[in-house]
Symmetry: D2
């Protein structure tokens, strides 16, 4: 059976001392599961995985898998530069009881499509868990080609794709190519874009991995429900409400990196909504100012979330 629906990348709440705040993390998991999501994705980009030490990654995995207790699948990001380092994370994730793994192409190194193919094949063969490719050119500076993704899907190396490239034409090509494969293992196409979910589902995508889903899981669940029932106009209306809410990620503007602005906004919103105790983001990110947090509050209120 292929993965579908709303699978938020779970933020990682922190204490003022930059440690994982497990109490807040548990509340966030409840907020998401109670919100109706279909699965959870821990240790993704929205989880600040790039900023978490291995010990913190382990804490997140144990906390979430333990608390969820099998109610929904828990995918684990295994984000690192190359195959051997990814395999280490995969071992930890498997031991912790993750339901599947999410890996990017190699980064930091100057890579080649043949090497990306070897990378995913090696992880799939060794890890013993369903493997999802994470297409994230803004971070890894490589775009996965449609041809490579479909080849790895057809042979059973990949169980799915999380497409955060923003290239919906490419997503459609994968969906149509996937549908043309017959008698193969299931392959799930998930969009990572918060603002084109209705159209991605319209094209045949199976689900969405929305960072903004931390802030408003019910919104994405409702959007998915409407689309599944064929009520596309209601889906679009809900999507447009979420597009306006997504404006929170731009509040930090150009005085900080894009990661700081986006991740800081999600955490500020979760803090304002009472889900987590502290909106702090990991070093070296620049924190949002009090004024900026105030503007996020206004956008939350406009979306009916405060």
């Amino acid at each position: 059976m292929r993965l579908s629906g709303v699978i938020p990348p779970v933020c990682t709440p922190m204490t003022p001392e930059y440690e994982v705040d497990t109490a807040s993390l548990v509340r966030l998991v409840d907020h998401l599961v109670d919100g109706g999501v279909d699965a959870l994705f821990v240790l993704g980009s929205s989880s600040e995985v790039a900023y978490l030490t291995d010990a913190q990654r382990r804490t997140v995995l144990d906390t979430v898998v333990g608390h969820v207790g099998g109610q929904v699948p828990v995918l684990a990001g295994v984000i690192d530069m190359t195959t051997p380092r990814v395999l280490d994370h995969a071992r930890v994730a498997a031991e912790a009881g993750a339901s599947g793994l999410v890996a990017t192409a190699p980064f930091y190194t100057r890579t080649h499509p043949e090497e990306i193919r070897t990378h995913f094949r090696t992880i799939a063969r060794r890890a013993g868990l369903p493997l999802y490719a994470y297409d994230l050119p803004v971070s890894v500076h490589t775009k996965l080609s449609t041809g490579l993704v479909l080849e790895l899907a057809a042979e059973g190396t990949l169980a799915g794709l999380k497409d955060s490239s923003g290239d919906d034409g490419g997503l459609r090509a994968v969906v149509m190519g996937r549908d043309a494969l017959s008698g193969e293992a299931p392959f799930s196409v998930l969009t990572g874009s918060e603002v084109t979910v209705d159209s991605a589902l319209w094209m045949g995508a199976d689900g969405v991995v929305p960072g903004l889903g931390n802030v408003d899981p019910q919104g994405y669940v409702e959007l998915y429900r409407c689309a599944s029932q064929g009520d596309w106009e209601a889906a679009r209306a809900e999507q447009e409400r979420l597009v306006r809410l997504f404006e929170i990620v731009h509040v930090g503007g150009s005085r900080m990196g894009g990661s700081s602005s986006g991740l800081g906004a999600f955490k500020a919103a979760l803090y304002l909504r009472g889900v987590i105790d502290c909106p702090v983001t990991a070093l070296p990110q620049i924190p949002l100012s009090e004024d900026e947090v105030g503007r996020i509050g206004k956008l939350l209120a406009a979306a009916g979330l405060l």
Copy 2:
């Protein structure tokens, strides 16, 4: 006193099973130290640091620091995505007895100059070892600005710069800015370019960190010696011989990633010269073919190294 001279980034020999080959690593260290190098840099890009697990990084550190026994300083790369993960590597390196640390700007995340400043300041404050900035846009997709480097030099955050950006105008601006700082902590400017060492030294750089120095440490030592004694014509002649030798990194061509071609060539050359037992590179790199290794052998012979 500031670091100067020839500081090769030490390759990491591996067994056919992709484990660190400590016996070969020890021989390589001897080859370099006997070749007259001034210090060693382990766990840099040429060391395949991006491909080494944390356990393998630890093995490399312990092996090299232990074997060197203080004859020359040993710098350790602490290459990872963000500050908290770099700090973990820094702790390990300090425990292992490294003489200094080498860190890049954050990568994978979308970062900002203010965040890069915080990144280096946090590492320097917590690590307790001299910190060298590693400017490597091809891997981290950010260029360190002259202004930021000089600010961090002036305040004592950085003990030096390893400039692998290929931008010798920028290197010169750092050297001249450094010389204009008075009464400050020592700040060492090192070029990471194998092919413009004579000119970098001419501009006032203190030394070089040449990947190709694994293959021919004597060549770089001789080049540095000539330059130090003011015999620039001899330095240039030696540099030009090394430029011709550097052709080995292009043998792999476009059928593999640039990392595979370059690192594979260094290891093939070390293997052909009898320094290491096996030329294998880490996964998912594409290995050089037998024919390509043969062409590397011819280039070695032409350089008088076989």
Copy 3:
């Protein structure tokens, strides 16, 4: 009234001597107008505008505007590096009787958002024709921001946007921002993506500028008609047929530049369909081989076009 519907960027047929083949161009215009398109866009990227001399650009303008005789609007690309050069093209286009102008951000120079704003404002003020911004990062290496586009829309500088960035989330933000402007001049949002037209229209876009529309104008007209009448399932089915046809642009593969592969495919298809006399593309593009043209023929047949 704002521009809407199907507005193909008209290919520029050439003789074997690389001159504009006006007889073929006239036949192509008839093919498009008879196919039911709503307007024509000459001298865009798909017209090989980057390869046409000023005299050839003038020939194209005169031929198309003269032949169309006001049946449908004719937009003219005024593609050049900076404002003064664009203004020269704008004067020629106005004299020739174009209905509107299409301009990109400056390129070749290292530009700044403030300069892009001045660029569009100056063109709009001097040209005396409706001005459409052409967002084409793959060519000009700058992405127009949503904020800038909406500011220029609100003040009446721009009459519309041709979005060829492939970023459908950005297109949606422009559509929603445009709808929030009240009592303003009309502003038309057109997608330049051949493969996400149904979803762009679903988001509220007004029309499409499809290079592939040269080959199959009826297909895009039908797609637009279905969407306009709310028959989205039929629109999607037609879109999916066109996605499969779009495969022709990849036939040239990596042995040539992306422009050669795409433009060569459109012209080969027009040649095979009997619309133009010769499939030649301008220098220095690499031509498709006979075998590649054969594969394009098979894709045309599969789409019911041969």
Copy 4:
């Protein structure tokens, strides 16, 4: 005989109405020729060629070629997107009496090395003037490979290279490859970097094309003279003085595009030195503020030029 020495890219002075100020242009040419330069390069990036209309380009050519009257060679930039448009500029330049042409790789289009080769070969064959390749990745977003440049040199297509890539390792590879060609047509290697001229000459480059040479031609002439006579220490001292002067290009900072800041600085300096009547730069560039012009004045004074 191959071109060598100091060949400044001549700025294009403008009136407050953005027309070519031919009186100032003539004074600038005298300033350069009297300063001892070996040739002139008109219609390059520093000439604002990207901003000049074809009529203005013609005015510049006629003014400079006419005034110089054969005292020194005059190279002409033929900067445009593709071969056919470049050929039009080449015809005009030949008619005007230019001594040679300078062309980049194609831009705006997505190009391929085979197409770049065809581009240069076609221009060389048709133009009837020596052709220099202009390697300028910051503008054309393609780097000319060493292999391609040497192939085109060996076959006589190219008479030289203006290397503005900032990659001095690549420049050295071209110089060494050029020296290995025997019995071939002369091939001149010129650096476009203002701040590494001594080292480029040291590597064997034949000359320099310095934008900053507009401001201080005597400086670059002296630098070249010292290097030619083997007085490298004097060359370096002069180079370092010019590096400090080059600081003027950063005065505009990040509130404008890099082109505006650099070109505005050269013109402000020429204005302050009394060479040209007006420091205006072409649209849509942002002008330097009065305060910024004042800071440029201080840097000129520090360099002994006011």
